[in-house]
C-alpha cells in the first residue's frame, strides 16, 4: 500500500481518536450535555470503509456515529458545536451527539434506534440508483443491528431490488454489556446474509489497511453490478457503552478482554506498520499527530467559549450527568 494512503488512514483514525479523547476529558465539565457513545478502539472501521468510498457516496449511521461522521469528512467544528448544543452545530443544535448530519459530505444522519437506519440506507441506495448515479449507500450498524428483524428484511430488499448498498456490520461483539452470543443463537452474519442473497466477507476490523483494501474492490463491484454487499468488521470498544467511563468488571465485560484488545488497538498497529515500512515513518506520524491535535484544540476552545457566551444569556445550571451504567 502507498505510504500516502496509509498516512491518510492514520490521520483519519488519529483525528477520531483525538476528538473522542478530548470529549472524554471535557465531559466532566458537564457542558457536553448529552449521551456520548465513543468509538475508541473501533476507528479502523470508519477510516477504512470511508476512505474507500467516494465523496458522492451517501452514509448513514447509528447512535455511535462520531467516527463515521469524521471518517466521511464531516466538518469538525460543526460537530463539536453540536456536542456543545450550539445553533452552529452540524444539526443546528437539534440533533446532538447521536444525530450528526453533514449534507455537504453526504453524511445523511443517523438513528439511535438500533437497526433503524438500515432500511433507510437501502432507500438511499434505491434513490441513488433511480437517479441514475453510480453512487452507493453505506449503512453502518452494530452487531446489535443483527438482532433486529429489520436488518434481514433490508438484506432481502436490497438483494431483491438490486440496490447498491454496502452494509457495514461493525461487530464489537457487545450490545451494551450483553455479548453477541447471549443474543444470537448463531453468530455467523456472513452466512445469514448469504442465505438472504447478499454476499459478504468478514475482516479484522482493527486493521485499517485490511478494511480499506477489502472495501475498495467490493465497492467497485457494488457500483458495477448494482448489488448489495456486506462487510463484517470485527472490532472492540475500549470505552464504556455510553459516556467517558468504562464498563468492565463483575457482571459486565471481562477485564481480560480489555487487555487482549488493547494490544490489538488499530492506531498503534498502523503506526508500527508505517514506521516499520518507511524510514521516515515516525516523523510523518508525529507531524500528522501535531497537526490534528492543534486543530482539535482550536475547535474545542472555540466551541467552549461560545457555549459559555450562550449560557451566560440562558443560564442553565449544569445538571448531574447520568448513571454511567445505562444508555
Amino acid at each position: 500500500m502507498e505510504i500516502d494512503t496509509m498516512l491518510t488512514l492514520y490521520r483519519r483514525m488519529f483525528l477520531i481518536r483525538s476528538v473522542e479523547e478530548r470529549i472524554k476529558a471535557e465531559y466532566q465539565n458537564r457542558n457536553i450535555r448529552m449521551a456520548v457513545h465513543l468509538s475508541i478502539g473501533q476507528e479502523a472501521v470508519a477510516a477504512g470503509v470511508l476512505l474507500a468510498a467516494r465523496p458522492t457516496d451517501c452514509c448513514l449511521s447509528t447512535h455511535r456515529c462520531h467516527a463515521h461522521y469524521l471518517g466521511k469528512g464531516g466538518n469538525l467544528q460543526e460537530m463539536i458545536d453540536e456536542l456543545y448544543s450550539l445553533e452552529t452545530g452540524c444539526s443546528r443544535g437539534y440533533g446532538g451527539s447521536m444525530h450528526l448530519f453533514d449534507k455537504k459530505v453526504n453524511m445523511w444522519g443517523s438513528s439511535s434506534i438500533v437497526g433503524g437506519s438500515i432500511p433507510i440506507a437501502v432507500g438511499m441506495g434505491l434513490a441513488l440508483k433511480q437517479a441514475g448515479t453510480d453512487s452507493l449507500s453505506i449503512s453502518f450498524m452494530g452487531d446489535g443491528g443483527g438482532d433486529e428483524g429489520a436488518f434481514y428484511e433490508s438484506l432481502n430488499l436490497a438483494a431483491l431490488l438490486a440496490v447498491p448498498v454496502m452494509f457495514v456490520f461493525e461487530n464489537n461483539r457487545y450490545s451494551t454489556i450483553t455479548p453477541q452470543a447471549k443474543r444470537q443463537a448463531a453468530l455467523d452474519v456472513i452466512l445469514k446474509a448469504r442465505s438472504f442473497g447478499v454476499e459478504g466477507v468478514s475482516v479484522d476490523g482493527n486493521d485499517a489497511v485490511q478494511v480499506y483494501e477489502t472495501c475498495l474492490p467490493a465497492m467497485d463491484n457494488i457500483r458495477q453490478r448494482q448489488r448489495p454487499f456486506l462487510i463484517e468488521a470485527v472490532t472492540y470498544r475500549l470505552c464504556a457503552h455510553v459516556g467517558p467511563g468504562s464498563d468492565f468488571g463483575p457482571g459486565r465485560r471481562p477485564e481480560t478482554e480489555l487487555e487482549e484488545w488493547r494490544s490489538r488497538e488499530p492506531l498503534g498497529r498502523l503506526a508500527s506498520r508505517i514506521i516499520h515500512e518507511r524510514p521516515n515513518g515516525a516523523a510523518l506520524i508525529s507531524a500528522a499527530q501535531a497537526h490534528v491535535l492543534a486543530e482539535v484544540d482550536t475547535v474545542f476552545e472555540s466551541a467552549k467559549r461560545r457555549f459559555d457566551e450562550v449560557n451566560a444569556r440562558v443560564g442553565l445550571a449544569a445538571p448531574k450527568p447520568p448513571d454511567p451504567s445505562r444508555v
Binding site: C58, L60, G89, C90, S91, R92, G93, Y94, G95, H99, F101, K103, W108, G109, S111, I113, G116, I118, P119, I120, A121, V122, G123, M124, G125, L126, A127, L128, Q130, A131, S137, G149, A150, E153, S154, N156, L157, L160, L161
Partner: protein, 329 residues
C-alpha cells in the same frame, strides 16, 4: 402543450389513480410501491395500469416487510425522491410505527431541519365484509398526536385526488387515509387535478343550529343525520375536516362559536380521539361556550368484531344518533 380544464365522472379508485398518474407524469421523482400493487384488480382500481404506463421501476410489487419498506421510503425521500407506499389496511401501519414515528416524523428535526421526508403512505379503513379486529382498525388519532406528520382523510371523490396530490408534493411524511365505503362512490373530478391545500376544512352543508365536525366516510353519515334533523327544522352545518393534521382549528371554532352546539363524527374511537381534540379547542378558546353537551359519534370502545351481528352493534346507527341529537334541543 396547452392544458385546459375539463372534468370527468369517475369512481373513487379512478380518481386516486388519476392523481398518482398525474404526479408521476409531472415529477419523475415520484414512485409507488406496495404489496400486490400490480395485481390486475389494483387496490380497488387505484393502481391499475400504473406499471404499464410508468414501468415497474416506478410502480413495483414488494415483499411483506412493512417496517423496512417504510424505512426504504424514508431513505428514498431523504434523497429527494417522492415515494408513495400503498398499505391497504390501516392496521398494517402498526408494523411501520418505528419508521413512521421514530424516523420519518423525526428526521427533519434531528437534522436541524436540513432534511425533508416527502413520503406518502396510503391506507384504507372501514367496516368491510367482516374483516374483523385486525383488518378494520382506524388509528388516525394516534398519528395526529405526533408532530412532524400530516394526516389526510378525504371524504369525497372530488377532494381525494386533490388532497393526494398535495400530500405527494408536501415535504413532510403524510398518512393518507382512504376509506372502504368511499370506494363505492363516483363523482365529478376536475382535470388536471390541482393540489388542495392541507389544513383547510370544507363546508359541506350550511346550518345555524349545530356544527357537525366530520371526517372521511362519516361525512356521508353526517349528511344523513343532517337531513333527518332538517325535517325537524334543525339545520346542521357540516364541516368536512379533510385533514386531521394540520387541523383547521379556526373554522371549527368559528362555527362552534356560532352554533353553540357540536357533534363530532369520527371513524374511530372517541377517547383521546377527534372528539377530544375538538373539545380541547373549545375549552381553550376564551368565551367559546357550548349550549348543550358535545355529541360524539364513532366506534364503540372495543376492537371491531368479525361476526356481522356483533359488528352491527359496534358501529353507529343513524337513527340512534338523530335521537341523541334531538334530545339536545
Amino acid at each position: 402543450m396547452e392544458e385546459h380544464i375539463t372534468s370527468k365522472r369517475m369512481s373513487f379508485g379512478e380518481a386516486i389513480r388519476m392523481a398518482i398518474s398525474q404526479a408521476m407524469e409531472s415529477d419523475e421523482r415520484v414512485f409507488a410501491y406496495g404489496q400486490g400493487i400490480n395485481d390486475p384488480g389494483g387496490f380497488f382500481g387505484s393502481t391499475v395500469g400504473l406499471s404499464d404506463k410508468f414501468s415497474e421501476v416506478r410502480c413495483f410489487d414488494v415483499p411483506l416487510s412493512e417496517d423496512s419498506l417504510i424505512g426504504m421510503g424514508v431513505g428514498a425521500a431523504i434523497q429527494g425522491r417522492r415515494p408513495i407506499y400503498v398499505a391497504l389496511r390501516f392496521d398494517f401501519l402498526l408494523l411501520m410505527m418505528n419508521q413512521i414515528v421514530n424516523h420519518a416524523a423525526k428526521w427533519p428535526l434531528m437534522s436541524g431541519y436540513q432534511s425533508t421526508v416527502p413520503l406518502t403512505i396510503r391506507c384504507i379503513i372501514g367496516k368491510d365484509w367482516g374483516q374483523a379486529a385486525q383488518h378494520s382498525g382506524a388509528y388516525h388519532a394516534m398519528f395526529a398526536h405526533v408532530p412532524g406528520l400530516e394526516v389526510v382523510m378525504p371524504s369525497s371523490v372530488n377532494d381525494a385526488p386533490r388532497l393526494l396530490l398535495a400530500s405527494i408534493q408536501s415535504d413532510l411524511p403524510t398518512i393518507f387515509v382512504e376509506s372502504k365505503p368511499l370506494y363505492e362512490l363516483t363523482g365529478e373530478v376536475e382535470l388536471p387535478i390541482e393540489p388542495s391545500p392541507l389544513g383547510q376544512a370544507s363546508i359541506v352543508r350550511e346550518g345555524d343550529d349545530i356544527t357537525f365536525v366530520a371526517i372521511s366516510h362519516m361525512v356521508e353519515f353526517a349528511k344523513g343525520v343532517a337531513q333527518d334533523l332538517a325535517e325537524k327544522n334543525i339545520q346542521a352545518k357540516i364541516l368536512d375536516l379533510r385533514t386531521l393534521s394540520p387541523l383547521d382549528e379556526k373554522q371549527i371554532i368559528t362555527s362552534v362559536n356560532r352554533t353553540g352546539r357540536v357533534a363530532v363524527f369520527d371513524v374511530g374511537w372517541q377517547k383521546f380521539g377527534l372528539a377530544s381534540e375538538v373539545s380541547r379547542l373549545i375549552c381553550m378558546t376564551p368565551a367559546c361556550r357550548l349550549i348543550s353537551p358535545l355529541v360524539s359519534v364513532g366506534q364503540k370502545w372495543e376492537h371491531s368484531p368479525g361476526g356481522c351481528f356483533r359488528e352491527h352493534e359496534h358501529y353507529p346507527i343513524q337513527q340512534q344518533v338523530v335521537t341523541e341529537i334531538l334530545r339536545l334541543f
